[in-house]
């Protein structure tokens, strides 16, 4: 059955949150996260999703390895969950199967493994599975993704790009993602793969969003109030272009450096917070820490 013919297509922007509910947390993780029960990142995800009563769905679509979903499932078991399902969406047709959509509808938490974010976008984008995930998050289902999975949660996703500190035209290519949030553009393996340049490039096209660069074994827990809390062992780089005075992107040739004047940068660690609304950073010791 093709649910799309039965239900209206929801425009690709974050789905509306019903009045009596809160949006679920959105949790981009920077890759390389240790799949162990001592991981503060996974502990926090399980806690948000209902503890031992959580119904966790693992989507390993981005990965070419059969084991990606299983390793993640094993850690969730060690953390006390029994309600875990691996939903391997291999084709767009899988994303229309009623039993799969039903499993997605009953999840309290969703975890996208790493791999290739374009595999996620081309397989899931625009399908009924995408619709269920989006309306689920709008109604309170928490959605996490690591590496490629972290990129995919955004409206504007860095599909591919190059390493290096200086932004250059063409250094980052965008694709529409799952669209759980429009406010951030995420990049992952941030320090390890030297990605400040490509995140600056992505923001330089249209400096409306906040850049969130996530190091390995680090996560940005984005709450329903759009306040980010950092978990994990690395850094979270916030790139705020809202006071940008100038971007040379429109007149820059492919491959040439892009000039930017007025970017604000914060490096945050575990326990620190960032309010996407006010664009204020709150280190853990700050008196106004939300």
């Amino acid at each position: 059955m093709n649910f799309r013919k039965l239900e209206r297509i929801i425009a690709m922007s974050p789905a509306q949150t019903p009045k009596n509910r809160k949006r679920g947390w959105i949790i981009p993780i920077g890759g390389g996260d240790r799949k162990v029960h001592t991981s503060t990142i996974l502990q926090r995800l399980v806690e948000l999703s209902g503890g031992s009563d959580a119904r966790m769905v693992i989507i390993p679509t981005a990965s070419q390895l059969d084991t990606a979903g299983q390793r993640t499932r094993d850690v969730f078991r060690e953390l006390g969950l029994s309600g875990i399902e691996i939903v391997d969406l291999e084709t767009r047709a899988d994303c229309e199967r009623p039993e799969i959509l039903e499993t997605l509808r009953t999840a309290t938490g969703v975890f996208f493994t790493g791999g290739n974010q374009l595999r996620l976008a081309t397989t899931i984008g625009g399908t009924s599975a995408a619709k269920v995930l989006r309306s689920g998050n709008a109604s309170g289902v928490h959605i996490a993704g690591t590496s490629a999975g972290a990129a995919f949660v955004c409206e504007h996703m860095i599909a591919i790009g190059k390493s290096g500190g200086t932004p250059k035209r063409g250094m980052a290519s965008l694709s529409p993602g799952l669209g759980l949030t429009n406010r951030v553009i995420v990049d992952q393996h941030f320090r390890e793969r030297d990605r400040l340049g490509r995140l600056l490039t992505a923001l330089a096209y249209n400096p409306f969003a906040t850049g969130v660069g996530v190091d390995e074994d680090t996560a940005a827990f984005i709450g329903p109030d759009d306040v980010i809390e950092v978990f994990g062992s690395g850094g979270l780089t916030i790139v705020d272009p809202s006071e940008l005075e100038f971007s040379s992107m429109a007149d820059t040739n492919m491959g040439a450096a892009v000039g930017l004047v007025g970017v604000k940068l914060h490096i945050l660690l575990a326990g620190d917070k960032y309010d996407l609304n006010s664009r204020q950073a709150y280190p853990i010791g700050d008196a106004n820490h939300p």
Copy 2:
């Protein structure tokens, strides 16, 4: 005064339409439009915007030529308007000036000239002017753009790309646009510059949106109910990937052709309609023409 500090940043998705209002029309025009009072496109825009009482704002930011705004203004005069202002946003600082924001707030119609869409995105994106334009359209202000201006009205904008019929990885580069609508990805000068390949490429990353390819001297009038009506002398190519079975984008090398299975194509002419909700095309003679 920096309005951004005073007002909350609205997340980059179409702004919410207040309960008692309708969204304004969104009007991408394919370029090469004849700047003459006999143009059915400009006549229809003036009619929607209030006829002789319209307050039209022309934004020539995309263009390098000083004359772009003036030629457009002259045609609006011939069509009986007196309330016309050229608002040349040259810098991001211009986009924060109170008198400019006030002019934008009182417009009933807005017209973006052609030129370079990245100049529009880098100058206006994320500023208070963008915020006023977005909330204005959500509350009933009609926004038209020709050529670069047409690309800019979308959430996902084709920033640059190459010609040719076959889609190839890297053939189209996306950038966030003004974001009046998420439902369509627009391409302009469509037949004249042989752009089916790049529009297919843009859709192949994540096949959730509808592709709208606008020929020169042709316009897609997108109504508040998301039904498109075609005006002008050329064709409107609708590319519907919603039934796509497969996209090879994730495994395709840069520059290589992308495989797509199941794309639906419609070529529509003046008077024909297309319903973005139901994804149905209604030629002018059709019994169910909305």
